[in-house]
Amino acid sequence: MIQPFVAIRNVSKAFGKFQALQNVSLDVQAGQVLCLIGASGSGKTTLLRCVNQLVRIDRGGIWLDGDLLGMRVQNGRLHVLNDAEIARQRLSTGMVFQRFNLFPHMTALQNVAEGPVQVQRRKAGEVKAEALELLARVGLADKAANYPSQLSGGQQQRVAIARALAMRPKLMLFDEPTSALDPELVGEVLAVMKELARSHMTMIVVTHELGFAREVADRVVYMDAGRIVEEGPPGQVLSAPNEARTKAFLSAVLA
């Protein structure tokens, strides 16, 4: 069996009394696109944020490309990594947020170049050329000098994707990337994500866009109440689900 690129094992997380994740285990193979679906509060966003260590897990472990995230096993005990070590581990993942979270005081180009120049310490000239290429790739070559406030939601989200790609991540995480968009702007963001999937980027996508999941995902995972209820190829989970809860969710969404 091939080593999975992301391995999630027995992960639990509680926020106060609310159990957001209960014993979740999941594999994502390199080059795969995995879509996480489920109602709000089902734990799908929390799971994604655990992979990027924006949320620290209570129990279990997540391995990325063979590296245990956020912790080190030493003498039979777990030791939490420090701020700098966690920041270094985050370099191999890119994250796209529901609310874009572009830096409003920087232009589109500066947003994309910020990480490579400030964090990876790459040469500004080389980074600028690459950032312009990335902006062209997401269809925004002419918006490089614009500030986020001058861009539409769809354009902002595409800049955010370019910003994440500029770090040359091995894994891209998308947290409901189209939920905050006006309906007519959803398509342009999904098109960029489809292009990314075709280039064999490993992706985990939390989404309500079942059409996108059906078309692009290699596997779909349905979550409810902090647990994985059902997983499999999109044709099976979305069209012929085995579990009653999956069926109920799908009929509610498609209604």
Partner: protein, 287 residues
């Protein structure tokens, strides 16, 4: 639903689009303006006939002692505010740190220096020699506190450290006003805590804190007058020294007042420039 040519409109609603809007007489405004002008005239007459020798005000406005004084006032206000802002930023970062020791130290600093009058702090710094006759770093350097704690240094430390306590709260409010998503986005591109604060959070916080900091700076210009009690030669101290000699108390106080107003007035356009600088990207058309 475009109205067809045959659509019938109801009668009794004449076309008003050709009529001009008549000017309204704003009686309230005229009455208020008249009353205020009368009050100002009465006030001006009172001062003109009062025991004020206006020629002294004009003469002493630009004497070297007063000019030196206002320069010292501005120098102290700028230096103490700079110290206050540096301390304020550091203390605000400490207060928002995950480290409980740093948080407690920062909280204690704010509590101590906001909780005591600044004039008391100035006197304490100036009289530090009574507590520590010799100060310095053991083995490296030391000096007599009496020589070291000049009026300038005492005033700078007293005003600057006190200001830091207030500024830290302004900075903290500014940093809290930045959306938490900004910090997460900074983390997601691999930034450490401090780099995220410096590159992403603080530049956005600046936009929020400049108006209150402008307020604080204006207070500081006027608070430097307290340093006159520890012999720092700022403008009020100079004015006092002159009226001790010539007894023109009110005239010299007016001179000092005019200078304070002038300095504070000059600060307003400066603040507007700074606000424009930090509003980059946040108004729709600043390309």
């Amino acid at each position: 639903m475009s109205p067809g040519p045959a659509q019938a409109l109801a009668e009794g609603f004449p076309d008003l689009s050709g009529l001009a809007v008549a000017r309204r007489m704003r009686w309230g405004r005229w009455t208020a303006a008249l009353l205020i002008v009368l009050a100002l005239l009465a006030l001006a007459r009172a001062f003109a006939n009062g025991q004020i020798e206006w020629s002294y005000v004009g003469r002493f406005l630009t004497v070297p002692a007063i000019l030196d004084g206002i320069i010292n006032t501005v120098v102290m206000a700028v230096a103490a505010m700079a110290l206050g802002i540096v301390l304020g930023v550091v203390v605000a970062i400490m207060r928002l740190s995950p480290n409980p020791v740093l948080r407690a130290v920062a909280g204690g600093y704010t509590w101590l220096f906001r909780g005591t009058p600044v004039i008391l702090q100035l006197l304490l710094w100036f009289n530090l020699a009574l507590v520590f006759p010799v100060i310095g770093v053991p083995g490296l350097w030391s000096g007599r506190a009496v020589d070291l704690m000049t009026p300038f240094l005492s005033a700078l430390l007293g005003l600057g450290i006190n200001q830091g306590a207030y500024t830290s709260e302004v900075m903290r409010a500014g940093m809290l006003s930045v959306d938490v998503g900004q910090y997460e986005a900074a983390q997601a591109i691999g930034m450490s805590h401090l780099r995220a604060l410096r590159r992403i959070i603080l530049p956005q916080a600046m936009r929020v804190v400049i108006p209150p900091l402008g307020n604080e700076f204006i207070s500081m210009v006027k608070m430097t007058s307290l340093a006159s009690v520890i012999q720092y030669p700022e403008v009020l101290h100079s004015a006092e020294n002159i009226y001790y000699a010539n007894s023109r108390v009110i005239e010299l106080l007016i001179v000092a007042g005019i200078w304070y107003l002038a300095v504070v007035s000059a600060l307003t356009p400066l603040q507007m420039l700074l606000e424009r600088r930090f509003a980059r990207g946040l108004t729709g058309n600043s390309g």
